[in-house]
Symmetry: C2
Subunit: 734 residues, 2 copies
């Protein structure tokens, strides 16, 4: 069991919010507090401990009586697992309200039935499935990378296109360097070699946050760019589609959302087809092109003439280089996803990475060569890939296959981000850098919240930029290469610290990767600043700031719910009793004595009432049955109403103290809240329990007909220390 | 005091939600319940009654310690009024959160400081103020009524315009009949003679609801039509304004909203000017026109030729008549507003009504005559009134005065609805036909909620119909004449029932009014059905249905919070104790024994915990200090986490029973809710108190970082009987 546990723990999709093992200090504090409880409970222990029913539900073997959902056959919701331990069955997770049930059923229809924790291990990927799932992003990049590069060069006229060959060579060097660097990273971080983990481990928390911000932007843009470019491929064949880019793109995002909420494996199987189809199409294209070239003796065609709008300089060449560098986005996907591979995870991951980089370099080099020999220039009407297809295949079914496969792989490439983005958020949430909700595994063992967040962000970006690839590309490189740089730099530090075997060679490889990435990063940020990169340059620090504030908040929470030792007996007796049992300590008193023990808590129940009806009497009865002092409070807009109420109170018998507060300005909740605060100011050692009767309606619209004084009062006093709000429900028949 | 009280009660703007005097039966039941309490509290009475602090805040003379709003000078919030009675001062109504304070200050800036209940009587209207406030709607109707009539006639060519004289004569008869009818209604219903009250009193609840629905539509349309028509007057002078009708209209609605939220009297004084200006302008117009006519020997000019689009038939004439009938909308304003007059209310109101009808008939007749003699036909570019102004005044300052006064009176005419609509809703809410929120007097003694509701509805209608007068007019007549008809029919029944002095004459007058109104109603609904009246014909029954459902709901609430006598002692002893103290009775057991008395309520506190931290320990300590049985409940997603928690629990000392529920599907709230339900099913006589620790954050955004299990649990169990939810706050420092 323990071994299985450790294995499960190694993989990031492990169960939600793992219990952080309590440290020895906290454990000792807990023990001390426990002893104090034993002292103070004393003879009352038995009374408090004796539960008036069987909490194991043993005496509840018959099905429960029919509820108002009597149609639903009663089912066993809990199973005894051990003494004092029950196991909830699937039906126990179903909501109870009619709307809730409907939503749950719809959800089940779309997403499938919930999966048990034990189904987790089955959700891992074989290499042949992992390859297309993770490679679609990387490989599909060749559909827009070369085109982006050419689109920059053509600004200096068609003659500038000849620069594409040296730039492509540079990019290939960059790709291989990055591939080799990541190959080294994977075995070093088998539990997930994402830039966030690697940078955090070696360069510190801030670097991790910067890397995370870069990656998050990268993932969102991957979705947007891939979908935009995929729709470009469709538009090349059917120009009419061009008018519906935005709705079509949003529909695809919705599809990805649903598919990923269902869980990764089903998604993987479905996504294998387009990736392999794309591979085949490109292989056919390159092969066919090679045959054509050989047939005509490798003559170079000149591209159609185009007027120069800018002069050809170093700046333009650098811009073209960074645009072309988008061909290698997605290379980091494998290292993030290591734990999703089959055993041995890191070895399978590394092999997959090598395959992928090899295929990428081949495809990129081949395509660039074809483009060069065929003299292709980018045009508005159709993509470069479509032009190549026309030249090599004519217009036949092979051209259609090429375009269809391109569109599909691009549309599905967005899916890589649906694996990585939620996983990154999981890692961040585990380190308290992101909201803890991203730790939660959904019904289907997918990180639903991360998947939803990504969809929303991608849809916003896609809509804002009207689904135009050209607008999105300038935003793209900065985030990616920021993460690359930090990750590779982290690895340099890693090797330096370990200095294991071959550490020098490893350090040089990663150092080279870091250097090249940093160069691309700086170039991209500088040369594309005005084209849109400024947005990313602003958003990244904002995100980092946000992460830090989140972390700070969780730190504050942790400090404030941590247990503190109770002072020694002597010291305790010296403390004025009045201060001892304050539910809330002022911040200055932190660490002085924050634990509660039940012995001497002073109570007063306050029951606010508008009139003396059944609801109020129930609240009074509830309060009085707790055997603590109880008082009624009535807020009256007028003296007459106050008199009327007092008369009723006396008719009832004046069993409890009644305080009437006249409110000539007709406010109800605020004066009551101030009154409670004033009572607390008088005796800060008394815990006030406000017992509010609450009418519970059956239909949502009926809530509009009630004033919800209870809810409003709860909100008004929630910031007051030492005020506990209790809601006594009064139910209406349907 | 009692006399003052009765006076205040007579006027509808009286204090909120007056205490409904409890009937003798309920009083006797209350007494019986009280005796039962005395029996069951027994010796515990003293303990429960002794409040551990001074609830009168007597020992709290010093200002409270500085809060986190330390800048705000401490103020006295409560004043002792009598023993056990405090008076809240204005500061006690202020919210405590920073955002709340900011909103309150902004509000005060726009609306002025809150007014005390005692300021209410000062908010009444003298006749000379009442006249413009209430008359603006009625008198301003001549700005669009004649024009609407002519716009229909012109469809049959310019020759058809000669029909305007007989139609106008018919309308004058209708106006006078309605005026006389209402004169009779006012003294009969001095507390408010609106159609809702009169129809309800004489024809029954359904008729009242139908009348109310008609009136509500009328009021909303008055706002929309008046503003649209007022903007037409502006556009006649400045055609450029035509492009901004919708934003300009919405801005006016916003202005009316703010003005009316400040309170009726300030509004009245401001609104006197345009009404009197309009009166003067029309008098000058009529006088000038008469002089001109006399000068030229009363020759009749022929209108410019226009081609007939429809044939002149009875149907067209009837449509023209119902369109012209919009000239008398607003005649019911006075009878609704009787209580807002100075003493003697009904007499002042009746006098005001007579003046108003007299002025209306004079203006209408004069304008129709001028239109006829000057041969004016409606045109797109400028209003009929503007054409008359050009003819009589030329283009000088008098013409400008006419247009400005017309625009202003129309824009402010909308204000009549701001008096009537909230007042109608108040009456309805008092009879439980509308949500009780409409009873509430705002800070400034205005019915804020009704004012806001009207503004929203009017803005929606105005926007939907693009602020076009011609589109709105067809919707208008149905609602108005529906209310007229029901009100007058009600008066017929009234006179028949009373048969006091002159009852025959009174009955004939109101009968004639009812007959004519009904004729107009049927004609309007039939002839304008396709032009938009269908919308009203659909909305009215929908509203009536809604009112009935609201009423039904309040009836259910009343039945369910009414007190029921406790069965005789003998009968009670026979009841199985287990059933006696169920907090919630199944609906079938209604009336059997619903009151609570505190004697034997069986308690069990359940403290759900995610981990054993300070927050959980506080919740446990709170529960244990109540001296009722307490158990901890921990929901675990995995067996390992469960084991870890149990170990901590044992370290602490296992002072209370712990139940662990393993939830392999990772749901937290739903299994917990089902578990609580299962406990209740086991022992329905045990009241479960769920004590949830709740972390209270300082900033709103931080709420996103917490899972709010407490809130979600509260929602999940709120429909379960016998489960009380208690929130123990744990506050974080800023």
């Amino acid at each position: 069991m323990a071994a299985e546990r450790r294995d499960a723990g190694e993989q990031p999709q492990g169960p939600v919010d793992q219990p952080e093992r309590v440290g020895t200090h906290q454990r000792r504090v807990l023990e001390q507090i426990g002893r104090h409880w034993a002292d103070t409970l004393g003879s009352r222990r038995a009374a408090v401990r004796t539960v008036p029913l069987d909490p194991g539900l043993g005496s509840y073997p018959e099905p429960p009586p029919p509820t108002r959902f009597g149609r639903v056959a009663p089912v066993q919701m809990f199973r005894a697992e051990a003494p004092d331990e029950l196991m909830a069955t699937e039906p126990a997770g179903a909501p109870e309200t009619r709307t809730g049930l409907l939503v749950a059923r719809l959800r089940r229809l779309v997403l499938g039935p919930p999966l048990r924790n034990s189904a987790l291990l089955r959700e891992r990927m074989r290499k042949l499935v992992a390859m297309p799932v993770l490679a679609s992003d990387l490989l599909s990049s060749v559909a827009y990378g070369p085109e982006s590069m050419l689109s920059v060069l053509i600004l200096a006229g068609s003659a500038a296109l000849r620069l594409s060959i040296p730039i492509a060579a540079g990019l290939i060097v960059l790709m291989i360097t990055a591939g080799v660097s990541y190959r080294q990273t994977i075995p070093a971080y088998p539990q997930g070699a994402g830039a966030y983990n690697v940078a955090g481990d070696n360069l510190g928390g801030l670097a991790a946050l910067v890397a995370a911000a870069g990656l998050m932007i990268d993932y969102v843009l991957t979705v947007a760019v891939s979908i935009a470019s995929g729709l470009d491929a469709v538009t090349s064949v059917f120009p009419a589609v061009g008018g519906y880019t935005v709705p079509a793109g949003l529909a695809v995002i919705l599809l990805l959302l649903a598919g990923n909420l269902r869980g990764v494996r089903q998604a993987g199987a479905a996504f294998a087809i387009p990736t392999y189809a794309f591979l085949i199409a490109i292989v056919l294209l390159l092969g066919g092109g090679l045959v054509q070239l050989a047939g005509r003796g490798f003559t170079v065609f000149t591209p159609p003439p185009a007027a120069a709008q800018e002069s050809l300089g170093v700046l333009l060449a650098l811009r073209a280089f960074t645009s072309g560098a988008t061909s290698m986005t997605g290379i980091e996907a494998v290292s993030n996803a290591i734990p999703a591979f089959e055993r041995v995870e890191w070895r399978n991951a590394r092999t997959t990475l090598s395959w992928m980089v090899g295929v990428l370099v081949t495809m990129f080099a081949g395509l660039m060569a074809l483009i060069h020999f065929d003299g292709i220039a980018p045009e508005q009407r159709q993509t470069v890939l479509s032009q190549l297809g026309h030249i090599v295949f004519g217009g036949g079914p092979l051209y259609d296959l090429l375009q269809a496969a391109t569109a599909l792989i691009l549309l599905f490439a967005a899916n890589t981000s649906y694996n990585d983005f939620p996983r990154l958020l999981f890692f961040m949430a585990r380190s308290y850098d992101a909201p803890r909700v991203f730790l939660r595994l959904g019904d289907r063992l997918a990180f639903s919240n991360g998947i939803i967040a990504l969809s929303v962000a991608a849809a916003l970006i896609f809509g804002t930029f009207h689904g135009n690839t050209g607008n999105l590309i300038p935003l793209y490189a900065v985030g990616v290469f920021l993460a690359f740089t930090l990750s590779q730099s982290g690895m340099v530090v890693h090797w330096w610290r370990r200095r294991g075997s071959h550490w020098r060679k490893s350090m040089v490889v990663n150092g080279l990767g870091a250097l090249l990435s940093a160069l691309v990063l700086v170039t991209a940020a500088a040369t594309k600043f005005t084209e849109g990169a400024w947005l990313v340059v602003i958003v990244i620090p904002c995100l980092v700031l946000l992460f830090r504030r989140i972390r700070h908040h969780y730190d504050v929470v942790r400090d404030n719910v941590a247990l503190h030792p109770i002072p020694a007996q002597a010291a305790r007796n010296a403390i004025i009793p009045a201060r001892r049992f304050v539910l809330e300590q002022p911040p200055t008193a932190a660490g002085e004595e924050q634990e509660e023990s039940p012995e001497e808590l002073q109570h007063l129940a306050v029951v606010p009432m508008a009139r003396l009806d059944l609801a109020s009497l129930r609240a009074l009865a509830y309060a009085a049955s707790l055997s603590i002092p109880v008082m009624g409070a009535h807020i009256s807009p007028s003296h007459e109403e106050a008199e009327e109420f007092r008369e009723q109170w006396n008719t009832w018998g004046d069993h409890l103290h009644l305080e009437i507060i006249e409110s000539p300005y007709r406010a109800i909740v605020a004066p009551l809240a101030h009154y409670l605060k004033a009572l607390r100011a008088e005796r800060p050692d008394v815990t006030l329990t406000v017992v509010v009767p609450e009418i519970i309606v059956k239909r949502h619209w009926q809530e509009l007909l009630h004033s919800h004084t209870g809810d409003r009062l709860r909100r008004a006093v929630r910031h007051q220390p030492g005020i506990v709000v209790t809601t006594v429900p009064v139910h209406l028949p349907a």
